[in-house]
Symmetry: C2
Subunit: 184 residues, 2 copies
DNA sequence: CGTTTCATTGAACCGGATCAATTCTAGTGG
DNA sequence: CCACTAGAATTGATCCGGTTCAATGAAACG
């Protein structure tokens, strides 16, 4: 999720409780069944949040590039165990804001309450984008959109991971690429 | 969108600028290209918000039953012209909160700022539900889910409208129903 | 009534899913 | 440096379910 620098302000305000972590490629930050108790910001590397199916055909909800804010916001709000995993796609460095202190900050003043609303608005807009992406575009259109709007994703990640973001199987992505190559 | 009674409190606070409207079945409250400048609450009847395609194959984002809160929140936040329409499915009575006064109320105190955050959180959770619905369920599963969770919708609305919520064509819904009837 | 919209049904089509086999690639250890 | 291995990517064949186009039947409404 993109942010408008309010995250910097929050990190500074919570500087004494902020946690910095480095993760190796493939390492899981939040597993299914855990309760998500932080909001994170990517400093270096790429993270992803995804739904994990029984087989290994998982569906990526979103990727997060440096500067992006990530959290299982639904789990945070509902105090539910997570239905999603958050994982490092590359070697990663992240800044983590503990939920307890973050929400306490919100309660401490009008200003911070407003920051909280802005964060929630940003979460909503991000989710809304994902809806439109899935609802209106065919798999092929999604891939073209991704090539146009987020070429870094395509360059840096495997076919398998890209397919999981498009909501299709790797084989189908392979065929889509072939189709597009022919019609150019 | 379901609410936790914060909407009552807001309506009361804004009672001198609240607008009540009655709409006939089929009437449009917000057209594409309009700027959405209110948050509404359904008093009686059913509303829906939907994306309108060139042909009349539109996609319903959501239906709203009495008590539900509706708004093109994305358009409200981004001050964009709407890409969705909001329409009365039946004879309807709604309460409308003008955006200007609502947002001014948010700025007036810590308490109202917090109410604003809760509203934003609710918008997010609603959008998230819709994502999961579309991402994980096949059209047939979506129909079954709807039968189980929101039977009122199925009873009260036409096949055409239900299909638009499921993200499929009316013909396909017809066949799904037939299939389910056979296997019972 | 008659007209219009909705719902159903049939036939052909299409694209993604699935199962399976093969190739390609990167990383590992001898 | 090469051989081996495991995972990723490609390709083929087949299947399945939703789409599309078209026709018919049913219901709603003036």
């Amino acid at each position: 999720m993109k942010n408008n620098n309010w995250i910097e302000e929050v990190i500074e305000a919570l500087s004494d409780v902020v946690e910095y972590r480095t993760l190796a490629k493939g390492e899981t930050l939040l597993a299914i069944g855990d309760v998500c108790n932080y909001v994170g910001r990517v400093d270096q590397g790429i993270m992803r949040m995804y739904y994990s199916n029984e087989s290994n055909q998982d569906i990526s909800f979103s990727f997060y590039l440096p500067g992006d804010v990530f959290t299982n916001y639904e789990g945070l709000l509902k105090e539910q165990v997570s239905t999603m995993e958050i994982q490092a796609m590359t070697a990663v460095r992240v800044t983590l804001l503990p939920k307890k202190e973050l929400f306490a900050l919100y309660e401490s003043s009008f200003h911070w309450q407003k920051i909280g609303r802005l964060m929630s608005d940003a979460m909503f807009l991000h989710a809304k984008e994902r809806i439109d992406f899935l609802l209106f575009l065919t798999p092929e259109q999604r891939y073209r959109y991704l090539m146009r709007e987020q070429p870094q994703i395509i360059q840096l990640l495997s076919q398998k991971d890209i397919a999981s973001y498009l909501g299709i199987q790797p084989q189908s992505l392979s065929r889509i690429k072939k189709r597009l190559a022919l019609t150019n």
